[in-house]
Amino acid sequence: MSTWEQLAQLPIDIEGYDLLPLAENVSSGFLRQTTIVRLQGGGHEGLGEDVVYDGVDQDAFQAAGAVHELTSARTLGEFTLLIAGLDLFPTRTPERDVSRLYRRWSFDSAALDLALRQGGMGLEEAVGRRSESLAFVVSLRLGEPPTLEPLMERLAIDPTIQFKLDPTDEWDPELIAQLAATGAVESVDFKALYSGTTVDQVGGIELYQRVVGALPNAWIEDPGLEVQGVDDFLTPHRDRVTWDANIHSIADIEALPFKPSMVNVKPSRVGGLQSLMETYDYCNEAGIRMYGGGQFELGVGRDQAQLLASVFHANGPNDLAPTGWNAAAPVGPLLSSPLRLSPAATGLRLA
């Protein structure tokens, strides 16, 4: 029986739902807004978090309120089909298409949480897998101009911590050599697949030549293979190439230019619970390693992303570091990798 088949048959009883807004100034004036979807039934609550990034979409979601009729589903499988058939942006077209997947995940994850709590079981029991200590990396930008300081500041707190860094054209050979000497760079994210975001990057072949050879053990995430010369240059390094921003489904993995060694499977980016479980099974059967990442969650979505990662890909370079590591000026002590989580006895939550 597939992982999804185990979950799809879980009974669920939904009496209603409501939405809880969350908001916090997280950095440099950026007001992060998310919404908690709270399903209710049988004296239990199921929580999920909508991580849509655009504030106008969050505002419209919260203003519309609980407009959907969700009480008809009797199993988790039926619920996910119901959600898949709804327009979850009934009053406003989202700023970006991927937001539809994020919102779908907020309902599906809330339903999984509720079904598990109503059934008196946790995720581990439901899927027949154990939560293992979660390996994580700290995702970090090195400033403008880039320096070693942010990295060294964190290594002073924990010399064993590993990093995921975003190379830029400003990375010169001296800086790259210093980074290599730390032995702390687990992954370099070229971010070549984003478009229209604040993190877009278009590095030329020279950047790849400087970075890839100097950091021979680092994963190479989201390279721009269409950039002149990059595909040929990376051919000997394909076993180090990983994909993140373009992975929403099994179809996306199969559409990659070559079979990957590893992909980033973010639950909210995949969207549907069925699709997520099928992606986990597909990667396991195909021998493709996985890792996860966060979405600037403020709420229970963070716990759920960490819990799922600990159950399905605990050993990957998960970009799910405890938030203290992401502070502008981190204060130790901070939790080290791997992180021992305590899954709640019931639900899709941590204890």
């Binding site: 709270r38 969650e297 709420g299 203290g324 502070a327 204060v331």
Partner: protein, 146 residues
């Protein structure tokens, strides 16, 4: 007319400075709308269940009676909107801005600077102010309003 529903103020009970700051906030709350709740208590954990565990001690939080939550600096603005508007916001900012902006980590980082203010007598007074509003351990918020 401001919303007169009660607001739970979640604070870090293991932080002397946070307790003292919350007591100052309560002294400024003439309408008695603010209900202190320790983050570490079962009720605090229940109220904050929508919040990521790792963020619960990062700052103070406010929770409305319908479960809505605001954290950090957002909490100040939110309390003001639901109570007396700008006048109270000004008093809150004057009374205890630091518990909302930067919260526990800011205090932790500057513990040496803040600690000289935390005399035993100040803390004892602060704990009494909180206890008067907090009621018996783990009591239901609604019961405190009657």
């Amino acid at each position: 007319m401001p919303d007169q529903q009660p607001i739970s103020v979640l604070y870090d009970a293991d932080c002397d400075f946070c307790r003292w700051s919350v007591s100052k906030l309560l002294e400024k709350d003439s309408h008695g709308l603010l209900l202190p709740v320790s983050i570490q208590s079962a009720r605090g954990q229940s109220l904050l269940s929508p919040i990521a565990q790792e963020r619960r001690l990062d700052s103070a939080h406010c929770v409305a009676s319908n479960g809505e939550i605001r954290s950090g600096g957002q909490a100040v603005e939110w309390i003001a909107m639901r109570t007396e508007g700008a006048a109270l916001a000004g008093r809150l900012a004057a009374a205890a801005p630091w518990i909302f902006v930067g919260g526990y980590r800011l205090v932790a980082k500057n513990r040496g600077l803040f600690s000289r203010w935390m005399t035993p007598s100040r803390l004892a007074l602060a704990d009494r102010v909180i206890a008067q509003r907090e009621g018996p351990p783990e009591s239901d918020t609604a019961s405190l309003l009657t």
